[in-house]
């Protein structure tokens, strides 16, 4: 039977061919929580009266949202989570290790895996051709104990991107454009498959940016083929043996096929206060920016910081503007230290914070003041997202963010190229 990527991965985990709209029990390869959702998972496990985890080595707790903790309530949550890992044998990824999805990508996610996480951006590792989906704390608690979960098999959409990205235009710009066009609920419940020359040639960092934001269109997951790029990537991070090629069958059936032309894309921004409120940069440039934030599960990889450094090298952050640089993982921090990327960003005036979610969720390390404007490389700009409902968040690529940090206003990065 001809299958889409989603159908292939799920069929393997169920043991027989499956169809869209079927309700299935699915074996889970990895289950994880973060420090915002984990404490509720732990409490629900107590209510369940559980005895032990199905597989402690496939259960991870990430301390990333409050890394390090800014206040005692969160410190106590961290204590609860550390104690849970100690008692059950689950893997603890402590503060400073990095954002869950970024660390999972580096160390755990394999092509063909089914991954569930108590965080909506678990879909990030769809870029690794893993069926990776976000769920609530209780769903993850049950998955941790049973070793499986339930799903409704999604319909698949093929997103074909032809052509090539022009200079100054990146994966983030495409994804913002896509979400702006299908809208925040346009692809609800769907499994997106990104393909076509402009997607197939994307580096893993670019793919991760796109898959990370699949949920912002309502989608269940955003998948890429497991191909030569995946193979090379796994080799560079020392997990070559985990590669296997996976792609959809040529005659697979899709509910919808959408085509885009990368040649036509320009730098885009999502404007306050909705992710699908997307405009090309020329419509919002010259807006004064108080804070620029580069990092997160969307754009917290070395390649993202290198793009920012290429623009900021030899320049200074504008007066009246702050630049926050938050590596997505310890690996990125170390790599960026040794190749000089963070040196450049610090010399330009960037504030380098420890690996983690940083300012993204409004917990700490860059909460906005009243009326302030932030250009961020994160994936969500809802009112109040960064800790102050009386503030304005624009989402952009690392290049656009860096250009804006130089001028103090929203700026087209192509002016620096």
């Amino acid at each position: 039977m001809s299958q889409t990527l989603a159908e292939k991965i799920l069929s393997e985990h169920v043991g027989h061919d499956i169809q869209p709209n079927e309700f299935i029990g699915v074996k889970v390869d990895l289950a994880y929580v973060q420090d915002g959702t984990g404490p509720l998972t732990v409490r629900q496990l107590e209510k369940l009266g559980f005895n032990q985890l199905y597989n402690p080595q496939q259960t991870i707790v990430f301390l990333d949202h409050a890394s390090p903790s800014p206040r005692k309530e969160l410190s106590n949550d961290h204590k609860l989570l550390r104690s849970f890992c100690h008692k059950t044998g689950a893997i603890l990824s402590d503060i400073g290790n990095g954002i869950s999805h970024n660390v999972v990508n580096e160390q755990y996610a394999n092509p063909g895996d089914v991954i569930v996480g108590a965080d909506s951006h678990t879909c990030t590792n769809g870029a690794m051709c893993a069926f990776a989906i976000g769920m609530g704390s209780t769903d993850i608690a049950v998955a941790m104990v049973l070793g499986h979960t339930w799903m409704r098999v999604p319909e698949s959409w093929k997103i074909v991107v032809n052509g090539a990205f022009k200079q100054g235009v990146f994966a983030k710009d495409f994804m913002l454009y896509f979400i702006g066009s299908v809208k925040a609920d346009g692809a609800t419940y769907k499994a997106l498959e990104f393909t076509g020359p402009a997607m197939d040639s994307l580096s893993m960092a670019g793919r991760l940016t796109i898959s990370n934001m699949a949920v912002e269109s309502g989608a269940k997951v955003g998948l890429f083929n497991s191909d030569e790029i995946t193979d090379d990537y796994l080799k560079t991070i020392g997990r070559a043996e985990k590669f296997r090629p996976i792609s959809a069958d040529p005659n697979a059936s899709y509910e919808k096929i959408l085509e885009y032309d990368a040649d036509q894309l320009v730098p885009m921004l999502a404007c306050p206060h909705f992710v699908d409120h997307v405009k090309p940069v020329n419509q919002v440039q010259s807006i004064h920016v108080d804070q620029v934030f580069i990092g997160t599960s969307t754009n917290g990889r070395l390649e993202d910081f290198q793009k920012a450094a290429a623009i900021l090298k030899g320049r200074k952050v504008a007066m009246g503007t702050r630049l926050l640089i938050t590596p997505g993982s310890r690996k990125v921090l170390l790599d960026g230290m040794s190749d000089g990327t963070f040196q450049i960003l610090a010399e330009a005036g960037g504030v380098i914070t420890g690996p983690g979610c940083g300012a993204c969720v409004g917990v700490h390390e860059g909460v906005l003041g009243d009326g302030e404007v932030c250009v961020s490389t994160q994936n969500r700009n809802f009112k109040g997202r960064m800790g102050n409902p009386n503030a304005y968040i624009y989402l952009a690529s690392p290049a656009t963010a860096a250009a804006s940090a130089c001028t103090g206003k929203i700026t087209d990065p192509r002016e620096f190229m």
Binding site: D119, S120, M135, G136, D185, G218, V367, K383
Partner: protein, 167 residues
């Protein structure tokens, strides 16, 4: 859980999990009682103080968009809300509603007005707008989700059945 009656509180499209459980109150996630005092306050500041047990939250499109935080439907339930009714839901939020035992129904809410008196019968699949004398029917949930909801939530369902009960 049948024959629930209360007042309609009307919200617009795209109510996010940041509207429901604001990001700046992240530190209250392990104190749900306190967090519940702020439910939906960034959408309607007066809501937490004035909502009465049995009332309904009425939304537009894509209700619950955003985060997977289960705290969002949990504190709506703690506020005594009978059900969340919206034109459409974000998928993680919808699944979380069922998991915490909070009925979530997809109905065209265009004609429901702020303050309307509503009566919900889950078993019959019927919502009556008593104020406007109008009846809406809605299809049943898929069997597994209906089982989870009628058991009172996912924990109760798993305790009872030891696994997911698909039919």
């Amino acid at each position: 859980m049948d024959r629930l009656r209360g007042r309609a509180w009307k919200f617009g499209d795209g109510i996010s999990t940041d509207h429901i459980a604001p990001g700046r109150l992240f530190h209250l996630r392990s104190n749900l009682f306190e967090l519940a005092k702020h439910v939906l306050e960034d959408a309607r500041p007066e809501f937490p103080q004035r909502v009465q047990k049995g009332d309904f939250v009425i939304g537009g499109r894509n209700f619950g968009q955003g985060s997977s935080r289960e705290h969002a439907p949990t504190i709506i339930k703690m506020a005594g809300i009978s059900a969340v009714i919206a034109k459409s839901f974000a998928r993680i939020f919808f699944r979380n509603c069922i998991n915490v035992g909070l009925p979530a129904l997809m109905i065209d809410t265009t004609k429901i007005n702020e303050g309307d008196e509503l009566e919900l019968s889950l078993f019959k699949g019927q919502l009556v707008n008593v104020t406007q004398n109008e009846t809406y029917t809605f299809p049943p949930l898929p069997p597994l989700m209906a089982n989870i909801l009628s058991d009172g939530g996912l924990i109760e369902h798993i305790k009872k059945n030891k696994d997911f009960k698909f039919d």
